[in-house]
Each structure stands twice: as C-alpha cells, then as structure tokens.
Symmetry: D3
Subunit: 185 residues, 6 copies
C-alpha cells in the first residue's frame, strides 16, 4: 500500500522499519561489488545498522527533508534510490541510488530514477535535481546521461574512498528541462 508501480515488475515504496531484513540481506550478499563505490557498505555490518539507516530515513522524511525509496523487482527487494536532502530555499535536491547483485542490466534504475524525477519536479515542485558520480564509476554515470542531465563540472577530491580521494562529476537537471522532456515523450 502507498506504493508507486512501474509496469508490472517494478514497485517503489518509501522505506520503513519493517523492510530491515530484506534490505540487509540484499546489501549483505551484494557487499563485495557495491563497496567499490559505496563506502557505507563497510559500516553496515548487522541488521541493527540497517535499522538505524531506516530510522534515519523515516526521520528525514518526517522532517520534510527528502526520502529513501525501496525498489522491488518482481516482488524482490532490488535496491534503493533516495534524496540526500532537500534545500527548500533554493528548491533543489540531489539523488543517490544502487541496485543489488542480480538486478543490474535490466533498465530498472533508469526507470526508478525517472520516477524520482517525477516525484521531485511534479509532486514536490523542485527547481533542480543533482546527481554526483565519481569520475571512474562508469556504470553509474550512465543514468544521468540517459536522462539528459547536463554535466556542469568536476569537483576535485570530493570524496575520500578507503585510501585515496576521487573526483566527482556534477550533473544537473532543471525543472523546465524535465517538463520539456516529459512533453516530448
């Protein structure tokens, strides 16, 4: 209940405490692949850590500060897409996402990300959505590029990744660009 469906296979739902088990299991078995670009895998050691993330997400949502959305594919928990925060003064947000092992290469995230843009631009009426990707993370860059984001710059040494700094491409999409895109399609 209170879900967003895309076609027959994909269901998106704001995460709640009761999703802890399926979320942790997915992270746990996708750990070795995901940790390459997502350092929070290493601090998610037990289901208790996942519960803390979910509590944090529910508080974030209650504070009107963005939400974390679970993605189910054919009934299985497949990944997460979320807003990091919402800047209401400037009406902007940035988005992050990941898919667990076995759910890649099916076009799930492009659709989920498009839904998140609908939510951000149409439901929340934001002006700008940003995606930041480490310059070497080729698979992740595909998403903003497919969705017509503009690459606006490269933030040097933006993130400490285990043992070195990585640079981040900044991609931005504006409300008018999105509305134009939806009209065409």
């Amino acid at each position: 209940m209170f879900v967003h469906r895309i076609g027959t296979d994909i269901v998106m739902k704001k995460v709640e405490l009761r999703h802890a088990e399926e979320l942790f299991r997915l992270m746990d078995r996708s750990r070795s692949r995901l940790r390459q670009w997502l350092p929070f895998l290493d601090i998610t050691k037990s289901i208790e850590d996942t519960r803390n993330f979910l509590k944090y997400s529910m508080d974030q949502n209650a504070a009107n500060n963005g939400c974390q959305v679970g993605i189910w594919y054919k009934g299985e928990f497949a990944g997460i897409i979320g807003q990091h925060t919402i800047n209401w003064s400037n009406r902007s947000t940035s988005i992050g996402y990941w898919l667990g092992d076995g759910f890649e290469g099916k076009g799930i995230m492009t659709k989920a990300c498009y839904a998140m843009l609908e939510y951000s631009f149409l439901d929340l009426e934001l002006e700008r959505v940003e995606i930041r990707v480490a310059t070497g993370n080729l698979k992740s860059k595909v998403i903003p590029e497919r969705l017509a984001f503009v690459q606006e710059g490269c933030i040097r040494h933006a993130e400490w990744l285990y043992d070195h700094y990585v640079d981040h491409f900044v991609y931005g999409l504006l409300r008018d660009e999105f509305l134009h895109m939806t009209k065409k399609s």
Copy 2:
C-alpha cells in the same frame, strides 16, 4: 506518487506538509458540522494549526507509531483516516476518521476504512483494530458495523465534549476475522 487507489475516484496518501492548504480549507468549510463530535475543530483556527498537525503526523509515522492518511475523491481532498497510535507489544491500533462537507453518503469512508484494515492487518500484520464511537454518533457507528466489527463494551464518561461527558462504544476486529472476511469476498 506513493498512493493507494480505490477504483477510479478514490486516492489515499499519507499526509505531508504540502497538503496543509487543502486540508485546512476542507476543515474550515466543514467546521460547523464536524465540530459536533470532533472537538479538535475548535483548536484548528489557522493553517498554522493544520501545519502542526501535519508535522505531528509525519513524526508519528517516522516513529513507527501509526499514520494519518488523506483521502482524495475525484481529485479533491475529502477527509482523513488515521491510526491513533500502534501498540507493537500487543500488535493493536485504533482508527479515527472524518469526511468534509459534500463527501458523505457516497460510501467513501467504508472503502477507505477497509483499505486501512488491509494496511493494518496485511502490511503491518497487526492482531487487533479498534474503533471507538460516541454512543450518540449514529453516522459514525455505521462504519464498524458494516465492516463486521464486534461491539465489545461501552466506556462510560470516556470523553469530555464541550460541556458534558459522553460514553464510547468500543468496537474490535481481530486479524482472523478480517482474513476470513477477505476470503469470502
């Protein structure tokens, strides 16, 4: 997005801060009828009071302690149904609801309440849902009676209503009773 649809006319969605204006307008114009049984109408004087209710509701939801759900009918805000709290030790909740002027007599609340039972028994896996109705509130009693709740007692002087105490009928529905009901239908 993140809604529950019933047929083509009814949409249910957990309330958020951005619903303040339509919620307050509905309460404001339904004030004289609703206040007969709902004393909180009188302390909802401005949209700021509605915003505080919505903040409280979002916090309640984040605390995993129940949710307040808006009901839209043909695109218009029609009313609210919500869980007062969730007792997770005993897996029980109680439900309250109201419809604004012009939305009564269309069967909206019976359907919305049934959806809330699905959410409570199936999504949240609760054991018991309770509805309390002032003994004189004939229109409100119809809902639990239609949905096969059992009347379990009458709590005397349960509520101070402006200038006198009223008694409350307690209606209860158990998980097995609900599952049995859904199988038959």
Copy 3:
C-alpha cells in the same frame, strides 16, 4: 517524609531513585508468581532496569502524567500501585498494581487502591478511573469488584502474554460514584 499513612502498618510514597534496591529485591524474589500476569518481570533482569523504571516514573510525575506509588507494609517494601497515564482533556486515568510474595491476603491492596482513588478523584479531581484485568486473573479482579467499579466490557485479544492473546475486562468508576461511596462510609 511526603508519605500517605493508612492505619499503623501501611505507608505509601511516590517512588524515587533511592528505592531501587528494595524494589528490585522484592520483584526478584516474587518473580515466578508475578510473571504469570505481568510480562515486565522478564525484562527486569537487574537493578539497572529498576532504576530505569524509577527514572521513567519520576519523569512521568514531573510531566503531570500520573505517578507510581510504593507501598510499604510494616516498614518493608510490599508492592506498587500506579497510574498508567492521565488524560487531562477527559480527566481520566487507569490504574495498575501488584504485591510481592508474602504480602497478599492481608487486604493491603484494597486499601492502597482506595487511597489511589482518593488521590485521583479528590486531589487531582479526575472524572473517571479505569482498571483493566485479564479475564483469567481472578485475584486481580477482586479489587475493582470490591471497590464497586462497574464492568463495562471485554476487550478481545487486548494483550499478548508470552505465547497467546488474552482478553481484558474493563472496569470503570466515575467521580460521582466514588463521592457517593465515601459519603456512605
């Protein structure tokens, strides 16, 4: 100091942190009998748990939300009677109580409960006091029945008790009924 005396043997006092040791000792040695109907015995494993209960009780009292009262019999800690919460809008409370091993069958609790009614109806000027008892808890039912409470209903599956749900009788006493009772006596 700041106590309520009943005859020469019974002293009642709002509990404070410094009662932790005698309270824990009593609970600990009455554990096997009390846990039949009181599941919180099992989560009271050490004096630290009792301290947390006492801190909570002191906060509850400071929030004007009811109080937990220790009962001493001939100088020994004998049990607890407390208000679960106070609903000031409707001026009602509900009461719970227990006696440790060796203090039953002496009429202590009937007197302590009567004192709690005096406190609730006369000092706090409440309108309604409620007592809920599991239908099978015959010894506990005696108290509201002796004190002329009215049985107002039976809440089904009200409480999860270790491995099954139990139903609760609801007993209520109104302010006028209490005042009438005190006049007669």
Copy 4:
C-alpha cells in the same frame, strides 16, 4: 496526600502544577515586601510565570536534583522552602525559603526548615546543608542561627540586587551536627 504534617497547623507538600493559582496569588500580594531580597518577584508577572516555575520544580525533582516544597498554614498557602540543587558526589545541598505576607512571626519557617533538614539528612542521607543569606537580610539570618548552623564565611559581591552588589554570609550544617541536635531534643 503525600504530605508532611507538623503539628495541626502546618502541612508541607512538594509543589505541583495544580498549585499555580494559590502560589501566584500569595506572591502577588506579598510582592512589595518580598522583592527587597528576592529579585525573582519582578520576573513573576503572571500565573504563567508561576506555572513555568512549577514545571521547572517538577523536572528538578524528577532529575533527583532537589525539590521545592509548599508550606500550608491552617489550610492556606503560606510560602516555599526548597533545595537549589543536590550535589550527589559531595552529598550537599543548599536551601532557600520565603513566607508570604501575614505568615511571618509565627515560627512557621523554623519548623519548615527543620523538616527540610530531616528530609535532607535522614531521607536523602546528605552530608552538608548550606544556607546563604545577604548580609543585610536580618530576618532571614535568624533561621540558620536558630538551627545551629555555623557561619563559615562571607562571599563578597555574591549577588547583583537591582542596582548594587550584596555580600552573602555562608552558613553550613553537617550531618553529624544535625544528628547530635536531634538526639538532644
């Protein structure tokens, strides 16, 4: 209920929110006399200020950090005696007190203060009770002197009183001194 009686005329009770009206009325009509040495009279302008003081007092008590005790004389609210704070590491507290207009010269405060010493030394098992008095406040100095406190020093410019600094005499009483005093009497 939960009171301390001294003879037939004096009743002492930890203050609660419901005492706001009688406390404020007493302060209000004793204002011109009391404000000479008690600057908080001037910031107690309405009953709301008194309610805030009472809330603060209940929180102080819940934090195990001392209590404020109301004194009733022949059924009328007469004054306050309270502990400013409790230092549990060193087991010490300090005491302040005042009586409203019409209640002075009857020996009420000496008795109330003695009761507060019993509470501090016997119930709470403290080691030291301190009273500080502005050097010019002759009436207030009488209390510690009557109760055999030792004058231990004079703190210069201890307090800003409207338009100048005043010095404070420090009086101290130790546990053994109190126990010895009670034995003799």
Copy 5:
C-alpha cells in the same frame, strides 16, 4: 583574547554572543549594498536575529562543524568569514564572507581568507576548501581567483535570489596546492 592578528590593523576572532551589537549595527548600515547577493540581510531585522545567528555559530563550533569568524579592522567590526559546515569523512569545507560598508578595497578579505585557509589546511588538516560565488558577483569572485583556487564548474540555478535563480561558479583549492603556495611565498 584568543584572537588571530594580521599585521597591526586586522584582528580575527570566533564570534560570541557578546558581539551581537557591533555585528548587528554593521549589518544594519551595510544592508542596502550587501542584500544584493546575501538574502539573509532581509531576515536580519533586529539584534535578536543577530543573537540567534551567534548562538547558532557557537553551537556549530561546539559540534566541531566549522566556525564563524569576526574580522575587526583598526578596532572596528568589519565583517565575517566562516565555514558553512565541515565534512570530516571527506575532510572538506566551504567558505563564505562579507565586509560591511567602508571596509572594502583595502585588501582585508584576501588576507582574512588566506588566514581561514591556514586554519582549514594547517590547524584542521582538511583536504579541500570550496568557495561558491554567484556568476554575476564580480567583486566576490576576485577572492578565490587571487588565492589561486581552480574554477571547477558552474552549478546552474543553484540559488533562488529574491525573484530569479542564479548560477554558481564552484572554486576549489586542495591541501597540496595550498602547501605549495605557502612554500613559494
């Protein structure tokens, strides 16, 4: 005390509550010029607003999350330079600054900003300092350009300024670049 001096004329000090008056006076008389690029001037209407900013700044500092530094020129309050936040995982911060009327064109801010870089890179051992400037704010752009920051991109519609969105240039300086710069000078 606890200040940083640059030559004989400039003193920098973390702001505290007691600076409220001189800070507010400076903002108040520089209002019309500063508000062109700094929308917070319009919500700084009274000294109370400035006090709230200072409380916030002291809390920010206590949370190890950056600091706001006052700049005095020849004994007069001249402006503010501060860190917006510190990201300790990635060891980065961003910096903002302004000078009041009459203090521009003297090279004060370039020196103050250089001191802030020393504090960020040497005291706090951060890896990256960022400055964001609205593309049309020519005077402000001079600072990072003089201090050898690299322009890394242009964030479109980054900020809502009264009635339209403005784009932000992002300037970044890395620890090694700063150390190299200090060696040369």
Copy 6:
C-alpha cells in the same frame, strides 16, 4: 590560530576535540600525582573519556557558560585552566586548573591564571572570580594568594575525596581589585 600567547613559551587556546590525544597522554602520565586532589583522574580511563570532556567543554563554551583553556609550554601540552560555569545574573565565575608532570615550578600557572583573569574581567566584564582550594592543597593555594585574592571563608566538608570529606578555602577577587592591580603593574 585563535590563541593567546604569553612571552615566547606559553600559548593558551580554548580546547577542541582534536586536542584529545595530547590531553589524554598528559593526564595519563601525570595520573598518580594529580589524583591526590583531582578525583576526575580516576574516571578518565581512556581517550574516549577525554573526548567526552572536550565535547562537554565545547558545549559549555557554546552555551556562553565558560570555557576550558589548554596551556602549551614550548609547544607541549602542559595543563588546563577553566571556568566551572558563569553566573551572568551576578556576573561571577569560579576557576580551576592543573599542570601535568614536569611543568610545575616554572611559574606557568600564575601567568595562565592572570590571563584567565584578564579574559574574565576585561573580555567578559565579570564582577567576581572565585577560586576554591582544599585546605590541605598547599601548592594550589599559592596561586590565588600570589594574585591577591581575598580568603573569604572556609566551607566545611565541601568535597568527598575518595574516603573522607575535605574543607575548601574560598578565595574571591573583585573587578575593581583586579583593575587596580593592573594599573599598578
């Protein structure tokens, strides 16, 4: 940066989280000497305890309630001098201090304490600074005596020290006395 220098050897700086390691190391190796008069040595068992002290100190400073200042001697962490709290109504504070092993007998603390008086009387414009010393702590008494504090009394059983109570001398210095002292020097 943001330091106070005395001559070429002494640097004073408000403590921050990043000083945890050098502070803990100093306390740890000075433990056996310092604990004679400072019972908090025994509850400072690991660097985590020192971090909590530093967090507390930063919060104290942010609350405008006094500060803890580190003393470095020839580049090495030598000790701490701090205000216990600030009473802004009466504009008074009290001061405590200690030096680690190897830093005594060099006149460091007298200078640091004088600086703290400058900060208290000149920067903060306080009226009164107090120092309390256990009567047997001969080395510590030297500081207020050298700085012309007046001994104002002796508080009996002021502090529980491991296994017995100790008395405290109270020393006070007033603003005018300090200003007079600085004029002469």
